[in-house]
């Protein structure tokens, strides 16, 4: 699908971080837009960004850290090439998401919030993707997949791995 883009975009430098922060710091309520912009650009929020954001937005470092850690969406470590989110909410549970979760953890050999050793996949829980009539639902980067069976999950991860080989 056209919207797929890997969350790992660039390695960061302090100058690049500062440029992203400066581009957002004057908005009203600039914190979340700034954090989103950093994560969208670099795939995660590097520790080095915390004092820079604190300085620019006139917060303490502790406050910035508190905000980053409050929101499930923000990560402080580089994710795998594909971030796989499995919906854990009730509508997906009613059509087998608990089995899908168990299968995914076993197939990838990782638990939630972990990344495979080859940095291919990061597995995350998500609570609802709004595809509740056609679950179980899985999101990979910006694409949502419905009616996901364990077999289709394996096929999907195979395809995602294969894409990487082609790119290399």
């Amino acid at each position: 699908m056209s919207q797929t883009h890997s969350p790992v975009a660039d390695a960061w430098t302090p100058a690049q971080l500062q440029a992203v922060i400066d581009a957002h710091s004057r908005m009203p309520g600039a914190m979340l837009p700034t954090l989103h912009a950093i994560q969208d650009r670099f795939g995660f929020i590097p520790d080095a960004a915390v004092p820079m954001i604190a300085e620019a937005l006139r917060h303490t470092r502790a406050e910035v850290h508190g905000i980053i850690s409050f929101y499930h969406h923000f990560r402080t470590h580089p994710p795998g090439r594909s971030v796989i989110q499995i919906c854990r909410a009730e509508a997906c549970q009613s059509v087998g998401s608990r089995q899908l979760e168990a299968h995914a953890r076993k197939a990838l050999g990782i638990d939630y919030h972990q990344t495979t050793p080859d940095h291919e996949f990061t597995l995350e829980p998500v609570y609802c993707l709004g595809n509740c009539a056609c679950g179980p639902s899985v999101r990979v980067n910006d694409d949502v997949y419905g009616r996901m069976s364990p077999e289709q999950f394996d096929q999907l991860t195979d395809e995602l791995s294969a894409t990487v080989v082609e790119v290399k």
């Binding site: 600039a30 979340l32 059509v95 609802c128 509740c132 009539a133 056609c134 694409d143």
Partner: protein
Amino acid sequence: MAITLYVPRDTTARALGADRVAARIERGARARDVALNLVRNGSRGLFYLEPLIEVDTPEGRVAYGPVTPGDVDALIEAGLFEGRQDHALSLGLTEEIKYLKRQQRLTFSRIGITDPVSLEDYTALRGFEGLKKALSLDSQAVVDEVKTSGLRGRGGAAFPTGIKWQTVHDQPPGEKYVVCNADEGDSGTFADRLVMECDPYMLIEGMTIAGLATGADQGYIYLRSEYPLAHDILDEAIERAVAAGYLGDNILGSGRTFHLEVRLGAGAYICGEETSLLESLEGKRGLVRAKPPLPAIEGLFGRPTVVNNVLSLAAVPFILDQGGQAYADYGLGRSRGTLAIQLAGNVKRGGLVELAFGTSLSELMEGFGGGTLSGRPLKAVQVGGPLGAYLPQSQWDNPIDYEGFAAFGGVVGHGGVVMFDDSVDMGDQARFAMEFCSVESCGKCTPCRIGAVRGVEVIDRIRAGESADKNLVLLTELCETMVDGSLCAMGGMAPFPVQSVMQHFPDDLTPRQAATAGGTTC
């Protein structure tokens, strides 16, 4: 003449392969030298038929679905481009599909018919007529129209929208805001997403009218980060609306101003609570605020703020265009107008059903939904999201309205209906309700923050057979403490599903083998 063919572009249609279907159709047309006008429309909300493709014919639009990429060549051979109805996936005239025809679509009258970002399509179907009406009235008259409609907050709290607007309207002039709560986090709900992905100008129009009514000239749509497609479509629609003069400075030459911006949440369920949402918009952790002060008096950045759900704001263009009474003519008791019901979970025919208040769950789950997807008997249904009670069969015939549901401990909420067949372990569901609360609690108040963690532990002990009777008493008291002592609806309602399991499905909350107890941790 070119053939006009529609392939939806909403999240569900795409999740089921609509993009690949569209690509195959284009390839098929090229191979046959057929001039094709492929429109990526919104979804009709008939998700059990997605991807549902349509073709323009002299008789009207005809539909096919659910179409997989592998079906496309055979469909073309069977006369897809001519709109022939010989293929097994043929559904006849779209408007005649019973599931759609039996609905009362006031808010969702355009979804699936139009290209979501086409201003021409929107205005051809009465788009911006409500805004024009509002521009011709004084602000009090706009508020009065919304009061007449009887519209109540569709996010779940069901507070009268007109009264909220009146409060903001009556605050002294100065900086005021309209904030749209688009943090649709309840499992089983997708109606907000459908508005934003399939008819975004309706939300833009509703917010602009709210701005005119209350004297606010800045609006924010607080959108959950789980909806990237809605984000793209909203941004594009806002840009086009500004360029065409429907939004921004000097709206339609009136001299009035309303600016609108989408702000992304970051995966916190609690930010669907309005005060937590405002904290988040201000750039803080999403901690719930104590009320009073009401957001209508001290809201975003301490200023008077209207906070409305997507569906409340989306109902407003109809109300201004057709009159508040036209909306109030639908409904039951104090629940006026229509409710967007979302049939989800283990359902054969899932999708959006917009009907006047007063229908029953039985009619929805069987008449529209066709029972479970698995074909097994229905066991329980959770209405109103993860904080809503699990309802047993004895409650499925009650008419749906806010007061009627509240009378038996039910929650209409945002209208999500999640169906479960008889394979569900209600003990698992009770445990999950507490687990979800422990993950998503903002942590500000103790009953919610600690109670949810203790709730998981106590349920695990009951199921492991550790002093089950004593622990059931403890769980009962814990639920009461959370309901009575929590600061907001998160901790105050998280016990509802647990209490409903204790009351209606007690056999599922009894000791069982420890080896199989518990769900997953995260």
